[in-house]
Amino acid sequence: MTRRAEAATIVAASGLAAFGVVLVNLAREGGVDAQVGLTFLVFVIAFGGVHLAARAWAPNATSLLLPPVVALTAIGFLEVYRLDSGRAGLQRWWLLIGASLAAVTLALLSTHTTSILRRYRNLTLLISVVLLLLPNLPSDWAVPLEGLELNGSRLWVVFDLGFTEMRFQPAELAKLGLVIFVASYLADHQRALREAHRRVGPIRVPEPRQLIPLLIAWGASVLILIWQRDLGASLLLFAGFVLLLYAATGATGYLVAGWFLGVFAGVASFLAFDHVQRRVVAWLAPFEHYQDEGFQIAQGIFALGTGSLSGAGPGLGRPDLIPNAATDFVFAAVGEELGFAGTVAVIALYALVVAVGLGVAFRSRDTFRKLLAAGLTLVFAVQVLLIIGGILRLVPLTGITLPFMSYGGSALVGNMILLALLMRISHEEAV
């Protein structure tokens, strides 16, 4: 696909977003309003901006990443708009902010190249850890930067500006920083980690000392689970790390070890924490606990069932009955209003994004860039799997966002930067 074709698909997908808003307007009998034009304009400006930034600062970047991402954002926006038009207005602002930051990322990396990320990996790690710990700030102290606990998880930071307050989830950015750190670390230690001298029975295992980073990552994700009660981020971090370790070494032993560590931590946390127990109960028996824990998942299942093959139509279903439909359960909202057909299209688009991301990784010659592209893509994929799987009751529900689709500023900003990083890597490798 050429840059010109990419621009055309951006306009087409922006048109889809506007068409979705038209459908919601028609369903409400309110007549088509200015939201349609505004939505179209914001989509074209935001993604067109990223496109122009790529033209200027990463001209050889793959043109295949933006199109599926715009379509996902459009479908997600349609449901967010349908559920809460006030939030949709905010989401448009976040889209513009995210696109600007993606452009800034492309511009900064065009002078410094991605090797700067490799060089300053310890600084990146430090910033990420600080970001992760920010929500643990006290909620009531003099400094205008405070932690906030919502829905039983301590994920939020409130930045009090006096006249208004800004809320964000620093974990969304910390996620990127951690992937950068791990990719850089593994690129430097790839060979040592790959060698497996010792044998235990039929399995070759690496030196125990080489397992230390794995154990540190495991420990870190367990700590997050305990401190912030954020099951999603903790799982995401750990799964992403194990997969990246496997990608770097090709040693299945890491997958096996990671699996056992994960299961062990899962069982232990199930026994130790009641919020994990609630999640598991809601996963295994949502209808038996319809009144309390299982309510959200049960409503999600109802929504998917009501949607049937082609859905009730945008604005014609009742996805508003699902708690947190615009954030955690946007996939179920799509299932209700666009049906099975809509959800399959969404999954296909995610698969395409992941295919392009892994394609970039496969084509990379430089180890760091290869691992960075693979890591960013894998974390993205695991996130999609965890939340969609949670809604479909394949895995316990974790309160993480569906990338590009859920309502949520920090997530959108983080994912736009992820997109910019992948584009930059593909530019540097396309020589």
Binding site: T9, P67, P68, A71, S310, G311, L349, A355
Partner: protein
């Protein structure tokens, strides 16, 4: 707004989404190395521009084709100066390759006799005896 129209619009919306997915998937498929539709090998056309009996005949070379005077050649050259199995044209991704099969009177590409396999470009002329062909 009547329900029928809304239902129709919904289907149109989904159709457009799928059209989009299909277009993007095709582009990405070729990037990742899977062709969504089996690639039809574009045959290169060869036109007889000068021949006593075959002038104006156009053949499409989509695989290996042997040209010669023999009845058993893939394409019979009706030229007394042609050998029984005179040359082979092979369609490749880069275009046509010409292999002279040790012909007695030789094969000339753009007026120059060739013995080694030769890459042909559009507009090249191939001469065998008195027959002249042009790569289209």
């Amino acid at each position: 707004m009547p329900d029928v129209i809304l239902a129709l619009l919904r289907i149109i919306f989904l159709g457009l989404v799928y059209l989009f997915v299909w277009q993007v998937a095709r582009a990405i498929g070729s990037h990742v190395g899977i062709s969504v539709r089996r690639k039809r090998r574009e045959g290169t056309k060869v036109l007889f521009v000068r021949s006593e009996t075959q002038q104006g005949v156009e053949i499409e070379v989509s695989s290996a084709t042997v040209l010669g005077r023999s009845e058993e050649a893939d394409l019979v050259l009706e030229d007394p100066y042609a050998s029984d199995f005179h040359m082979r044209l092979v369609a490749q991704d880069s275009g046509l390759m010409l292999h002279d099969l040790g012909s007695t009177n030789g094969t000339y590409v753009n007026g120059r006799r060739v013995t080694a396999p030769t890459q042909l470009r559009r507009g090249d002329s191939i001469q065998v005896g008195k027959t002249v062909m042009e790569v289209r």
